[in-house]
Symmetry: C2
């Protein structure tokens, strides 16, 4: 099955809003074997909507639209497509009843505003697609030649629920089971450069069998995305499973998870299993490592807290960093990072202490210590200490984020040995 | 001038990559008076590219494309559009020389790979648009009827620079000075609900004169975006200037800045002017407030650091929160927030101390303290203290972020009185 997507709205066309709906729908549709051949965006202009939908129907015979189903005069999708199909709009009492129900369920007084009655206008012969999350129902309109348009709301939460619960099940029935799909899986790596990964992967760098491999470098590290195209669903899943295993074997210790895995969550899990707790001493990251760790629900079982030692006086007062080391080696140095790690452990009673000190930029570089220089130390349960110097690329926020990722990875790598 | 945008790439069509290029170009073009009438995305398929560009030329006569200019076999924009215009591709020695220069400037040995020679293939009669940020040059191709296509690279950094330095200046010349533009300005507010803003704004809630007003609620607060459409550039800027002033007068103390203003930067500036320094004691936010403040370059002049007191023992040990208050009122309480604020001030020597303690969820609610409950305290230079209880909506990350925004706003509001 081949379809086109049309997203409708001035805000999208003018670039005030990023078109996340189109990307979401494209992924979801491809994963069930629907091929998207084109995406179009038009503004809230009736003739433009009708023209775009008409042309897409000529090319593909099947169209999904988002947006323009709301109650205001800007919302022109319904009348434009009804006119294209030469259908009358009729007031649908059932649809209006649902709108009133929602109104009452929200505890609002009286009746919905008159504008909401527009949302109960349904083209002759259209199938109403229920909206579990909002008032605007979706619509499915088909012509005598079997060409169809599915109209979804533009509010992302409503659109996603309707796509999942109503549209995709319909398309699965329509397209049958034999379809081929586009699916992907991602192996997340960190602490290794893209070029070094290419070398480690050897022939696999070009892909695993027929599955092409994409290298996606980012602040978390390099993600390896393997994509199966034009395969039946089970074969795609099988091929991806085997492919990821092959990648994992080559990548080794640099791989920390799959798909959306967060290294902070991976580290928290490992600490929880080993019954060790973490404290931090952060200088250049200013609390970002703590914020990342505490973003994970349940982190309080592992994370105690720590000190944001941005000013040197705080490094001394709250982390017991000796003044002579600060003066001799400078704040961005191995002994200071180590003292911060030890100090955060000592002051909190945590088994693991982390110290991070560096130059996030744009200013602050000194001879031999360019912007991006970060010293990180991790102190372990028996007083062991691991220190590392790194130079991170990117702007201030990127350097800081990379420093938190690096610190988490040092914990991950050290844990099995402690 | 009316144009269409076409973004090219399988990754975009399949939704693996968000189409930020289209949104960026749309805003930039609208701001200089170019009307975008449609946006289209097609995959890396020659005939699909040619069809989309051909149809767009029929409709609008002017097309900007992004993507598909790279050196690999996936990059089909150049040959597809050359074929559409019935032009031969010829090797351009000047273009290749620039590619070699870039290669040498990066300190790479030998010559660029053979694939880079593809990037030096230029359609007959095309104007080469220099790429200051990468190897792929842009191209401008015009037919005998004056219809044109501008081809830009797909890498956002390269595309943005070329749009700013090459495309927009060309379009300004082409379209002349009389064009009307779409421009917008945003007034940022925080600490006030959308419904309360509507009341405060009265008639202005519907817009200022002819300028429609959009309410954009988010974790920072509610942004008010005023948009001028179909006005000459100077009239648009003037109308927006006056409109924002009117909004600002009504919104009063809830407004903290315009457009991309960051409340953390606003607060740092105010503290710098008053020569006061900040320290934090963070529980539920886990370091996020410190991370937000230290995201601003130069924050070290104002921000000393503080304590991430996630565990109650740390609140006692490092912030001197009395154990009996923790036991009597609970960690999420006014006296504990106040003690954290005072403690962070006392332990660091800062003039201003902030204490944040709350329930970020999804678990942890207790009777009378639902998820989202946050107590915040700000202690001032002379030992003054302001405390506030709030209940924030959203998931864990949103509650935490809203808590940092709220704390910053408490500082902003308290400063003039101290």
């Amino acid at each position: 099955m081949r379809i086109e997507l049309i997203t409708i709205g001035d805000e999208l066309l003018l670039g005030f809003t990023l078109d996340t709906n189109a990307a979401h729908l494209a992924r979801e549709l491809a994963a069930v074997g629907v091929e998207i051949t084109r995406r179009t965006t038009v503004g809230d202009v009736g003739p433009a909507i009708a023209a775009a939908v008409g042309e897409a129907l000529e090319r593909a015979g099947a169209v999904v639209t988002t947006g323009g189903l709301g109650p205001t005069s800007d919302d022109l999708t319904r009348p434009a497509i009804a006119a294209l199909f030469a259908r009358e709009l009729r007031f649908d009492a059932n649809v209006y009843e649902r709108i009133e129900e929602r109104w009452r369920a929200r505890g609002l007084p009286g009746h919905p505003p008159a504008a909401n009655r527009h949302q109960a206008l349904v083209p002759d012969g259209a199938v109403v697609l229920p909206n579990a999350e909002g008032t605007a129902p979706g619509l499915w309109l088909e012509d005598e030649r079997g060409r169809w348009v599915a109209m979804l709301p533009g509010v992302p939460r409503e659109m996603r629920a309707m796509a999942r619960d109503v549209l995709l099940p319909r398309l699965r029935v329509l397209s049958g089971a034999a379809a081929t799909v586009v699916r992907s899986r991602t192996l997340r790596t960190t602490g290794i450069a893209e070029s070094a990964l290419v070398e480690r992967l050897g022939q696999l760098a070009a892909g695993v069998g027929d599955l092409p491999l994409a290298f996606l470098p980012g602040a978390d590290g390099v993600d390896l995305r393997l994509t199966a195209r034009a395969l039946p669903p089970e074969r795609a899943d099988e091929a991806l499973e085997g492919g990821v295993e092959q990648l994992r074997a080559r990548v080794g210790r640099y791989a920390y998870g799959e798909d959306g895995a967060d290294l902070a969550a991976v580290v928290l899990d490992a600490c929880r299993r080993r019954r060790v707790r973490i404290a931090v001493g952060e200088s250049c990251t200013g609390g970002m490592l703590g914020a990342r760790i505490t973003a994970i629900p349940g982190s309080s079982a592992v994370f105690l807290g720590g000190v944001i030692a941005y000013d040197n006086a705080i490094k001394e007062a709250l982390l017991e960093v000796p003044r002579d080391e600060l003066e001799a080696a400078g704040a961005v140095s191995e002994p200071v990072a180590a003292a911060m790690a030890r100090g955060s452990r000592a002051r909190t009673g945590a088994e693991i202490g982390v110290g991070i000190t560096g130059i996030a930029g744009p200013d602050g570089e000194t001879p031999g210590k360019p912007v991006g220089t970060v010293w990180t130390a991790v102190a372990g349960p028996a007083g062991q200490i691991v220190t590392r110097r790194a130079t991170f690329v990117g702007d201030r926020q990127e350097v800081r984020y990379r420093a938190t990722q690096h610190a988490l990875d040092m914990i991950r790598r050290a844990l099995p040995e402690w």
